[in-house]
């Protein structure tokens, strides 16, 4: 069992896939920043931002359904903003009395809640678009280009490389546990022991995984030494940004600034 399904990269040859990773990383973050900066309740701009993401998703050939499904993963967090519906002061929409509780929903509350949910949804889609069309080594190169410390990039890069190996180890541990976990279907008989016992088993597996990680890292270190590693992380110099990359950056940034200015005009 190998978990390649972990890798969110979707092979493709679309213009979005071919765009330089540095351009994509910078524009994605700029897009999310712009979305965050748009004030509450400026629906026209949300619509335009959404249209932008969806257009790029269509252009990338990922499939709108694929992106929507993955974007739904961030949805449970909306719960955190749910109380806004009832606690924001303003024009009352309706009020409900449940025993001693009186719940009042307000118009500004609804506006704020849906703004936050929508902005979050649009941002997640932009992030999905980035990772589904860019191979991770390219994202690492882009991170270096925007001056993330070289050592940190090296650590994250190595982590990525061994992520699948250790996830496979974890899956083997889980399979071994289920293979040894018989369940007697006797009525009134509690299954699977007490919670603390189950937690202890999971803990033992985690401890096992750490030993394997540490021992593996020692082997990797020796292997790196034997290949001439001296503590210095050497990386290929990244190619210069071409004129076309700059044009993409300027056009993308320009559209985002335009949307921001428009939102300030509309906002009242």
């Amino acid at each position: 069992m190998h978990i390649h399904f972990l890798d969110p990269y979707q092979r493709g040859h679309s213009p979005v896939h071919r765009t330089d990773a540095r351009v994509k990383l910078v524009l994605s973050v700029a897009f999310i920043l712009t979305t965050a900066l748009i004030p509450i309740g400026v629906w026209p701009i949300y619509v335009l931002l959404f249209a932008m993401v969806i257009s790029l998703v269509i252009l990338s050939g990922l499939g709108v359904g694929f992106v929507f499904k993955r974007a739904a993963l961030a949805f449970p967090f909306v719960l955190a903003a749910l109380p806004l519906l009832f606690t924001t002061p303003g024009l009352q929409l309706f009020s409900l009395t449940l025993g001693t509780w009186e719940i009042t929903m307000t118009l500004p509350g609804v506006e704020r809640f849906f703004s936050i949910a929508l902005k979050s949804w649009i941002s997640v889609q932009a992030a999905i678009l980035l990772t589904a069309t860019t191979q991770f080594p390219d994202i690492l190169t882009a991170m270096r280009a925007v001056r993330v410390p070289r050592l940190l990039v090296a650590i994250i890069g190595l982590m990525w490389r061994y992520l699948f190996v250790l996830a496979d180890e974890a899956l083997r541990l889980i399979r071994a546990r289920s293979a040894r976990s018989g369940e007697a279907d006797v009525p009134g008989h509690r299954k699977g022991g007490r919670i603390s016992w189950r937690a202890q088993t999971a803990g033992g597996m985690a401890g096992n995984l750490f030993i394997r990680s540490i021992e593996r890292s020692e082997r990797i270190y020796v292997a790196m030494l034997s290949r001439g590693y001296d503590g210095e992380v050497r990386t290929m110099p990244h190619p210069k940004l071409e004129v076309s990359n700059w044009i993409e950056l300027i056009i993308g940034g320009g559209i985002l600034i335009l949307l921001l200015v428009l939102s300030l005009l509309i906002w009242e």
Binding site: P39, W121, L152, L166, A167, F210, I220
Partner: protein, 317 residues
């Protein structure tokens, strides 16, 4: 990987001011940790930190059934701190949180600084403070280590969740009197799961590789600083959050006074004040125009893609 933990904040839930402020703090601390660990581990830093981060990530897949279809699983800040010392643990958790955001959209990109702050900085500093304190009281023996592990794990989850709640409140996303008790209550339970797994892992390591537990102890150069920071963070969050949630809207009041909420909602400046823009003076009208424009863009791109695909197929076959 369905998780009940609500520690990974997605984009859109924190205001820009809060997000950027926490990016700033996280960058400073992670930068210092990189230097620190580099001094301790030297050239072993990259392989050891990288593989252990992958190990913690994979360890988060290990879960155990609790009740009603929910399951407990590991965040890992406490176990990383106990095994590797605070500075290395900060790097490990930073890598884990970054990969989760960059690849799995578990947490946003603009709020990544905040997520690093909550899980890698607060989680680790609090775990370290709690673990050291228990060891000092209960001694270095097996019992002390296990109790210390449980306490460290529980506090790291609980205080990190309070930190998340405070950020949501400061961003004007959640009201204090609901967000703080809800987050604290849920994570007090989740913290027990984290604590039990951590104890299980430590018990296993104590009998299989006791040298690894000592491993972490030799590391904490500058540990006192982390201890003090952890204590301060824990105290501030543990005392300020209940205050904020019992005094009606106390924190919102502070946020309002400092203009946080206004800044979160209002534009930074206004061009053309009181000037009715021709054509977009009416918000509904503007929304309709945007809707039409948006649909046109999407439709245009779809047609373009379909057309070029048909052309390619026609020329290919």
């Amino acid at each position: 990987m369905l998780s009940v933990q609500a520690l990974h904040i997605p984009d859109g839930f924190l205001s820009v001011v809060v997000s950027i402020f926490l990016w700033f703090i996280s960058i400073l601390i992670v930068g210092y940790a990189l230097r620190r660990v580099g001094q301790d581990l030297g050239e072993r830093q990259v392989p050891l930190m990288g593989v252990l981060a992958a190990g913690i990530f994979a360890g988060q897949m290990l879960n155990f059934a609790v009740a009603g279809g929910t399951s407990g699983h590991l965040m890992g800040a406490a176990i990383a701190t106990i095994l590797m010392g605070p500075w290395a643990a900060i790097l490990i958790m930073t890598s884990v949180v970054s990969i989760q955001a960059l690849i799995f959209q578990d947490g946003g990109l603009l709020v990544l600084g905040a997520n690093i702050f909550n899980m890698a900085v607060v989680g680790v500093a609090v775990a370290y403070m709690a673990y050291r304190t228990v060891l000092r009281i209960a001694g270095n023996a097996k019992r002390g280590i296990l109790i210390g592990g449980f306490v460290a794990a529980w506090f790291s989850i609980e205080i990190a969740s309070l930190s998340v709640a405070m950020q949501l409140v400061f961003s004007g996303t959640s009201p204090a009197k609901l967000a703080i008790p809800a987050m604290a209550g849920v994570h007090a339970l989740i913290g027990i799961g984290e604590g039990l797994i951590t104890v299980g892992a430590l018990a296993f390591l104590l009998s299989a590789r006791p040298d690894l537990i000592k491993f972490g102890e030799t590391r904490p150069v500058g540990g006192r600083l982390v201890w003090v920071v952890g204590l301060l963070v824990a105290l501030v969050l543990a005392i300020a959050s209940p205050l904020a949630s019992t005094r009606p809207d106390g924190l919102e009041w502070v946020a309002m006074q400092n203009g946080f909420i206004d800044r979160a909602q209002a534009p930074l400046y206004r061009i053309f004040p009181d000037y009715l823009y021709p054509g977009v003076s009416h918000e509904t009208l503007a929304t309709i125009v945007a809707g039409i424009l948006g649909t046109a863009i999407v439709l245009g791109v779809s047609l373009g893609v379909a057309y070029s695909r048909r052309n390619r197929q026609a020329s290919g076959g």
